[in-house]
Symmetry: C2
Subunit: 371 residues, 2 copies
């Protein structure tokens, strides 16, 4: 085991836990901000620390294309490259290959695609995906999977699940053979004063697919568990299905995951959803929503959502959210934030992101305290 996961409290199905990674102990349930290209868009690492971010997500697909895994490995890995001493999780790149690149072909071996940046040709396999993630050196890395599209017929869903299971097995095998190649060493220094563990290296999580079929989800969970991982993710959701269905699948899949390992729901969700899923027993979530919405002027508050571009805020002196204690709500008015948005000022995107992330992190903090 490369991570230790200790459950410190329960409330209904919800769990409060502590995930010890090489770079940081992470309190769960946790929301992980997305730092696609090695940066949470617009926010300095100082600010992320101040917001209390303990773990963030990096996208292997983006970093693999630019600046490149070799460059980051040469510089000591993603933590050093970014100047971020706390925990990082990287995805396997599979989801982005499907959603962003010009996809050339999926074979048993892997996925051939063209870069969305320059059209260059690449081949991603379970082995190269894990190799890349070892080179980046995140604390938690993900097995290479195929995200099944929605809707999909029964045969397609089963075939896709079987592909994912074979890729999952190959991911595990490659990881076990190469995990020592991580670009950092685990001396007591690198684990930091905040209490990382020096007991192990990277952790590998498996991803459970199976579309919207309860039976296949159960089978995928059991077969993934039998391969054996440090934690388990639920993938292939939030791909266009109705929200009620997402919840059903999450709930039923959770029933088949071991209680003593972290459970990660990928790519979710709204503030209401992250609370709901934490209550169902999810330990980790990530989503671009708070950061992307912020850049588009959509702000989350305890009184609902605000679209800051609206003319009604032109001379509104109130803070975004009177009940929020973030740097933005302590200092700036809605009128100022609206002006920044309308004038297309960089600072608008920065401040909106600070607030939305703060709102998400506060929300999760309250959930933890309630467990």
């Amino acid at each position: 085991m490369s991570t230790r996961f200790v459950i410190e409290g329960n409330s209904g199905r919800a769990r409060r836990g502590l995930l010890t990674t090489p770079h940081r102990r992470v309190e769960t349930p946790v929301f992980m901000p997305v730092g696609t290209q090695g940066t949470v868009k617009g926010l300095s690492q100082d600010l992320l620390e101040e917001l209390g971010v303990e773990i963030l997500l990096g996208n292997t697909y983006h970093l693999y294309l630019r600046p490149g895994v070799d460059e980051i490995r040469t510089l000591g890995g993603l933590h050093r490259f970014m100047g971020w001493p706390r925990a990082i999780l990287t995805d396997s790149g599979g989801f982005q290959v499907f959603s962003l690149s010009e996809l050339r072909s999926v074979s048993e071996e892997g996925v051939r695609f063209r870069s969305h940046l320059d059209g260059s040709s690449h081949f991603l396999t379970p082995e190269t995906a894990i190799e890349a993630q070892i080179g980046l050196g995140a604390d938690v890395i993900m097995a290479f999977d195929e995200c099944t599209e929605y809707p999909a017929g029964a045969e397609r869903v089963r075939a896709s699940m079987e592909t994912t299971l074979r890729w999952t097995e190959r991911s595990k095998r490659y990881f076990e053979a190469h995990r020592h190649e991580v670009p950092w060493t685990l001396d007591s220094d690198s684990s930091g004063s905040a209490g990382g563990s020096s007991e192990g290296g990277q952790a590998l999580f498996g991803i459970v697919q199976g579309g919207m079929d309860h039976g296949l989800r159960k089978e995928a969970a059991e077969r993934t568990i039998s391969i054996g991982f440090d934690g388990y993710a639920i993938g292939g959701l939030s791909v266009g299905e109705p929200r009620a269905l997402t919840r059903e699948i999450v709930e039923s899949t959770l029933g088949h995951l071991p209680a003593d390992r972290p459970r990660y729901l990928m790519g979710v969700g709204t503030p209401e959803e992250i609370v709901e899923y934490a209550r169902l027993g999810i330990d980790m979530m990530d989503c671009v929503l708070p950061t992307r919405a912020a850049r588009h002027g959509l702000l989350f508050t305890t009184e609902g959502r605000i679209s800051i571009k609206q003319a009604r805020y032109t001379t509104d002196e109130r803070p975004l959210d009177p009940r929020c204690a973030c740097r933005v709500c302590r200092r700036y008015s809605r009128a100022y934030l609206r002006h920044l948005y309308v004038a297309n000022e960089l600072l608008g995107q920065v401040l909106n992101t600070v607030h939305n992330l703060s709102f998400y992190l506060d929300t999760m903090r309250r959930v933890r305290h309630s467990i």
Copy 2:
């Protein structure tokens, strides 16, 4: 007198002083970052405070067009609107009307122009320019002038100078009649713990024009002084003339300005130039160079300039400037900053701006300490 200006030390022609404004005591010589639309692009007011910024510049032209002077006045003035408790200087809007808008016509009365934002028609006069600046409520405001183009014939330069002098006189007259309309009151609270003065309100500076003609500069200085202002600016430079000529004109104009009032050189300059002009006896400067260059990846360091996009920095782990103690140089490598630039990430613009401004402010701090 609305500001107090005390000279605390001299070294050659250079002066170290203390400019007391309603919102902040400002150590001079000072470099004022440019916050065109009520924000120094990309930097939060928290960061500006941390960098030691005591006074920044707002552009009346931009704020007049968006969000509008009435909106800002309603919200208590530019300080409250921005959440910036320290000093602000606004320009008169004249320079930007000439450089940004579709200029319709200059008459004795003022300047008719079309907004660069929406083509709407506006008429700016000495009276409306001062009215706008009173409404914005900066600590230091500027008389309305005509910036003479370069090159210009002798007759044109004299005519333009005469226009500026008549507009300067009208600016002063309007200011004296309306200065009480400033949107803040000078109770001990608004002056802040950092020691603003509650003795007076806004200060009005006159601008000396006169092109590249030493005789006209002398005449413009003397006639502006006889109208009487709290401080004096040298305008109409950095408009395309050779640098040696700029320096000559600055030097000769300075000789005609009173020693006991602050002297402000507008729109200047490089790090080398701000040092040079401070040594000549200039007390205040502003320039978009550090912030604009930062957004284009051009960075100032004690070892010279760095164009961060260059491939040579791809795996360069060194800080931008090993002798710089700013947040950026303490935490991030050139490789990371290059990646952010190449990936067109917001954070690149933010961090580059923090460094460049820090470099300028440190430079000026060293100049002050040397006097």
